[in-house]
């Protein structure tokens, strides 16, 4: 139930983001969602995309440092309290959220939360026990593209 996320090292300077984007665009690779964590000097670009294996090879060939990380995607209704409900389930379990970001699905009134946990397997187990919809790899890309 885990998703593969690509993380790239970027320098914090003009043009740093466009370089990897050009690499992916040239091969017609579509990004489902992304997030950037930044500091004064550098940033980490995190990408979710269907062809992550191909993207990884391409980016590495073009000189980027890429790391593959397991993340967990959770579907929640796009309404107040959606995230609070998920976090409530995790409270007291000792599972730590290292970072997270969110996006909404096209044509559906749903939000998807992407979490990096210190213990992704236990997190998935806990969430499913509480009937929270953990979205798997195939489904997320199908639905992100608005396919039925």
């Amino acid at each position: 139930m885990k998703l593969k996320q690509l993380s790239l090292f970027l320098e914090n300077k003009p043009g740093a983001l466009s370089a990897p984007m050009r690499v992916l665009a040239a091969e017609g690779l579509n990004i489902t969602t992304l997030s950037i964590a930044d500091t004064q000097n550098f940033g980490i670009l995190r990408l979710i995309l269907r062809d992550w294996e191909k993207a990884r090879v391409l980016l590495e060939q073009n000189g980027f440092v890429v790391k593959v990380t397991d993340v967990v995607a959770i579907e929640v209704p796009d309404k107040p309290g959606g995230l609070a409900e998920v976090l409530a389930v995790l409270e007291g379990t000792g599972i730590n959220v290292e970072y997270m970001y969110a996006f909404t699905l096209k044509k559906e009134n749903k939000g998807v939360l992407v979490f990096r946990f210190d213990d992704p397997d236990r997190a998935v187990q806990t969430l499913q026990q509480h009937n929270i919809n953990v979205v798997d790899h195939l489904e997320i890309f199908r639905r992100a593209n608005g396919e039925a």
Binding site: S7, F9, E11, A16, I44, R46, V65
Partner: protein, 441 residues
């Protein structure tokens, strides 16, 4: 994997490597007297300095009297640009080389036919010392042109009876294609360029350990023992240190044997001394100081007591290979590479050692010196590698911190460490530029 020392075919041209010390000293003295006389007769600058000191060539009574002779320094070559130190008439000079001239005018060096022969022999002895022999296929990735590296290695390799591929530097993908398709057994290039070749090979999915390549002859810039370890581990070859400089002849002044315990100086051609760089006083073997070289057998442009700026020590400890030639310790720094920041003398090699002490896999770095509001700042830019890259900001910031602390505890100066994208720092096909000084003095 590698052959033992006794298996190496002895090349007749290597005979002087094994001269009994007394015989070697006698030969050196005889050649020294001749070359000093030649320089005195034909180099105006040298004669003028000798006269100022009241020293005549005939005053040389023994090798140790060399200490009475004046030094030559790099600026002497610039001041006499282009031909002012030539001791042969132009029609006898068969070759000119010149430095890249990073600061102003280049320096020009000259060879007559006999000098080319000396250089070629020094290079043959260099190849032979590390077990390279006729039948080897040598990829010569030193730059061909005004730089002495390309042609110096080329002539030696041909004379040795090896097959030379004069590929010169650059176009790394083609270098790898040739290395693989031509069955290259030996490569000559700068160590930093070989690291670049390694990076490129892993991107192209080529494992150098599976190729016939077995030895690398690396020089033209200082490198470290940890670089050697990395090169050997990742490529499965033996990495040998060759030493030379254009002012003296080019590559082939000194070369490591298969023991890899420091380059043996071809002392019958190049007489070494170690001096205190501050006082000029001659130091004994095993003492660290600046290497000073005298060309004993070069006619077109003799160099008497040339100050190399390279900091090292001479050792006369016997070597397992049986050569009687003294060795120099690995040259990891140059007295003119040194920079001074907030009153502290710092060598790039110290920064490199600090970086390697933290992760062991961060060989690509550059030091940027700036002056902000009258205060000198040192920024060390380090290329991020897949080994050290982490997905979390906290881990990368911790890495920066650890690197910064390691530098501060090594040199006593706080440095700002900045992680940069791989291959953004100048990775020269020639020499790595380690220090960029942007301070306006």
């Amino acid at each position: 994997m590698s052959k033992s020392v006794t298996d190496i075919p002895f090349h007749p041209v290597s005979a002087p490597d094994f001269l009994p010390p007394a015989q070697l000293r006698a030969l050196q003295f005889q050649r020294l007297k001749a070359i000093v006389q030649r320089a005195y007769d034909h180099q105006q600058l040298f004669r003028q300095r000798m006269d100022e000191r009241g020293v005549k060539p005939a005053d040389l009574r023994g090798l140790e009297d060399i200490a009475r002779l004046p030094f030559m320094v790099k600026t002497d070559l610039r001041d006499t640009y282009p031909f002012g130190l030539f001791a042969s008439p132009m029609h006898e000079i068969v070759r000119l080389h010149a430095s890249s001239g990073t600061t102003g005018k280049p320096i020009v060096v000259a060879y007559n036919a006999a000098d080319i022969e000396v250089w070629t022999q020094a290079m043959v002895r260099s190849f032979a010392a590390c077990g390279v022999h006729a039948g080897d296929i040598i990829q010569n990735a030193y730059g061909y042109g005004l730089f002495t590296g390309g042609l110096g290695a080329h002539y030696g390799a041909e004379r040795l009876g090896a097959t030379v591929i004069p590929i010169s530097g650059g176009n790394t993908q083609r270098q790898l294609m040739v290395m693989k398709d031509f069955g290259v057994t030996v490569i000559c290039c700068t160590p930093s360029y070989f690291l670049h070749i390694l990076d490129q090979a892993s991107e192209m999915g080529i494992d150098l350990r599976e190729l016939p390549l077995r030895a690398g002859i690396f020089g033209a810039e200082p490198w470290t023992e940890s670089m050697r370890q990395r090169i050997q581990a990742e490529s499965g070859i033996r990495a040998y240190d060759i030493y030379g400089l254009s002012e003296i002849v080019g590559p082939g002044v000194a070369m490591e044997c298969q023991c890899q315990c420091g380059p043996h100086i071809f002392e019958d051609f190049f007489y070494p001394e170690i001096i205190d760089p501050q006082t000029g006083e001659v130091l004994g073997d095993e003492q660290e100081g600046e290497l000073v070289l005298t060309t004993l057998a070069k006619q077109a442009m003799p160099m008497i007591r040339y100050r190399t700026r390279d900091i090292t020590a001479l050792t006369s400890e016997p070597c397992a290979c049986g050569r009687t030639l003294r060795r120099i310790k690995r040259i990891s720094r140059r007295s003119d590479d040194m920079f001074i920041i907030r009153g502290v003398n710092v060598y790039p090699s110290q920064i490199e050692a600090a970086l390697l002490s933290v992760e062991g896999t961060l060989p690509h770095y550059q030091i940027i010196l700036t002056r902000e509001k009258g205060l000198d700042e040192m920024e060390v830019q380090v290329e991020v590698t897949a080994e050290v890259f982490s997905d979390t900001i906290g881990a990368l910031e911790a890495l920066q911190q650890r690197l910064s602390h390691a530098i501060e505890s090594t040199v006593g100066i706080r440095a700002r460490v900045r992680l940069v994208t791989p291959r953004t720092l100048q990775r020269s096909e020639g020499k790595a530029k380690r220090v960029i000084d942007q301070r306006k003095m």
